[in-house]
């Protein structure tokens, strides 16, 4: 299908890291059903390294592919690198997304950040609140 790149279709058809982590160290859920996309990311973190990551997604093809790719990009990486993951990196790794689907990659970035914030909060780790933008800043329009 010409709508999506081969990479997107591969990650959509064979999503990596699908599932749930019991006793996860951090869980992030973003989006809402009204918009048609929800992503939930589970992290297992040991010695500041993301040793395992799983996701569940309700959404379109690019939402599922973005979740899959984003989890691949942070798996085995230090927390600092996962925090630095941008939606742009997800889009590039997927060989592009149609313009009207770019918000899916934004959701993937936000889901990972939300899971990391949860990890920090659970463990009482100090952090700069500015690195976690609030929902209103994304312009996704979910809550309008």
């Amino acid at each position: 299908m010409a709508l999506y790149s081969e990479k997107v279709m591969d990650h959509f058809r064979n999503p990596r890291n699908v599932g749930v982590i019991e006793n996860a160290d951090g869980i992030g859920e973003v989006g809402n059903a009204k918009c048609g996309d929800i992503m939930k990311i589970y992290l297992k973190i040991e010695n500041d390294i993301i040793v395992d990551v799983k996701f569940e997604t309700f959404g379109c093809g690019s939402a599922i592919a973005s979740s899959s790719m984003a989890t691949e990009l942070i798996r085995g990486k230090p927390v600092s690198e996962a925090l630095a993951l941008t939606n742009k990196a997800v889009v590039e790794a997927l060989d592009g997304l149609p313009t009207h689907k770019l918000h899916c990659s934004v959701l993937a970035e936000e889901a990972i950040k939300a899971a990391l914030k949860d990890y920090y909060d659970r463990n009482g780790i100090e952090y700069d609140h500015k690195i976690f933008p609030d929902c209103a800043s994304c312009g996704h329009g979910c809550h309008s």
Partner: protein, 396 residues
């Protein structure tokens, strides 16, 4: 194996339609407005096609205007009625919330020009009643436009009854019959229809051609200026091959309506029964007043585009009410109009059959949809919340 179940989007051309077109691309290529023999032959063909189509709709040949398709016909019908109304100081139009965008967007434009538009609420079964029209029709109403059958959920509206009220009140009645023509009985006189739009590619004819029927005496507004084709109401050299293909396709479709209705209703019902097996699923639109080939479902906990892509992988061409692919985050206005909440409306699937589908295909579709819905629910965080009781099911 490929299974085509998206006939509400477009149909495969019939052999008869293709055969009818070829001579007009090959030997009889003249311009119907030309005086020479070649042109006159084309003109005869045009006259012939107009007569045949008029007969099938139950109207006069001169009441037929050929257009580029359903959208143009809808635009022209609505605008013409508005202009006629305007002259008499009547600037109120009645329609429904779930019309095709070719009607809704035209109405939005007219609203900006000072027209008052009343969009009737659609009942949750996907129907509007003639009584609803009666309640809002008034002295200033210049047009009532209600679709014959809905393109997404396939519900068939009480057109003749609505038309009768319009006649009684002296208000023009237009129906977008794009999904109905060639599939349901039509007679514009018996059904009190003043204007009707149809599109050839919905009944195995070619794309890019349609008809606007307008009852004698209704002065159409010209949308495309130029030559004097179509009695000056639609400029541009007539698309003779497409028009000939449309006439042939319509004759064939109308001749087979009864036979196809029996066959398609059986296939449709088998599909509805099979898909109803899926827990927390619901048929969209009334079961009784429904196009013989339309199946529309919502499945809770999943999103429609993923469902379509995975069905495509399994060889099934379907469509969704979801506007996801069109760049909007909002789900279908039709599903919202019948009261489906956003969460559920995103998980929609439309299967629209043709007489070429078989029972085996229906069985394969049922099996495939079940598999894909189950898989997508398995990776959906919403579904997890629903089955764990964290959230309540909307579709019980």
């Amino acid at each position: 194996m490929r299974i085509y179940a998206d006939n509400a989007a477009t149909t495969k051309m019939s052999k008869a339609a293709i055969k009818a077109m070829i001579p007009y691309m090959d030997e009889i290529y003249g311009n119907p407005s030309s005086l020479h023999g070649e042109g006159q032959k084309a003109n005869e063909a045009l006259t012939n096609a107009r007569e045949r189509i008029a007969k099938l709709l139950g109207c006069e040949p001169r009441e037929i205007t050929f257009t580029s398709g359903g959208s143009e016909a809808n635009n022209q019908a609505v605008i013409s009625a508005a202009r006629l109304g305007e002259r008499k100081g009547k600037k109120h139009i009645i329609s429904t919330a779930f019309e095709h965008h070719a009607v809704l967007h035209t109405l939005e434009k007219l609203a900006k020009q000072g027209f008052e538009v009343t969009l009737l609420d659609v009942h949750e079964n996907g129907l509007v009643s003639a009584e609803q029209v009666r309640e809002v029709i008034r002295e200033e109403t210049c047009l009532v436009t209600v679709m014959y059958a809905n393109n997404e959920i396939g519900t068939v509206q009480p057109i003749a009854e609505i038309g009768a009220i319009c006649r009684e009140k002296g208000v023009l009645f237009h129906t977008d019959a794009v999904q109905a023509v060639g599939h349901l009985h039509i007679n514009v006189k018996e059904q009190n229809i003043d204007m009707l739009s149809l599109s050839a590619h919905k009944f195995h004819g070619p794309k890019g051609v349609g008809v606007l029927y307008a009852k004698k005496g209704i002065a159409l507004t010209t949308l495309i200026e130029g030559g004097a084709q179509e009695r000056g109401k639609r400029a541009g050299t007539e698309n003779i091959p497409a028009i000939m293909g449309m006439a042939a396709a319509l004759e064939e479709a109308c001749a087979k309506i009864e036979e196809n209705t029996v066959k398609l209703t059986a296939l449709r019902d088998k599909l509805i029964v099979g898909l109803s097996d899926i827990p927390h699923s619901a048929l969209n639109g009334d079961y009784e007043h429904r196009l013989p080939a339309n199946v529309s479902f919502c499945f809770e906990g999943i999103e429609g585009e993923s469902l379509l892509l995975l069905l495509d992988d399994k060889g099934i061409c379907a469509s969704s009410g979801s506007a996801c692919t069109s760049g909007s985050l909002d789900p279908s206005h039709v599903l919202l109009a019948i009261g489906r909440v956003h969460d559920v409306a995103h998980g929609s699937l439309r299967l629209s059959l043709s007489e070429e589908n078989t029972e085996e295909e229906i069985e394969y579709i049922i099996k495939s949809v079940k598999e894909v819905v189950e898989y997508l629910r398995g990776i959906s965080p919403i579904w997890r919340d629903l089955i764990s009781g964290k959230k309540d099911f909307i579709i019980k």
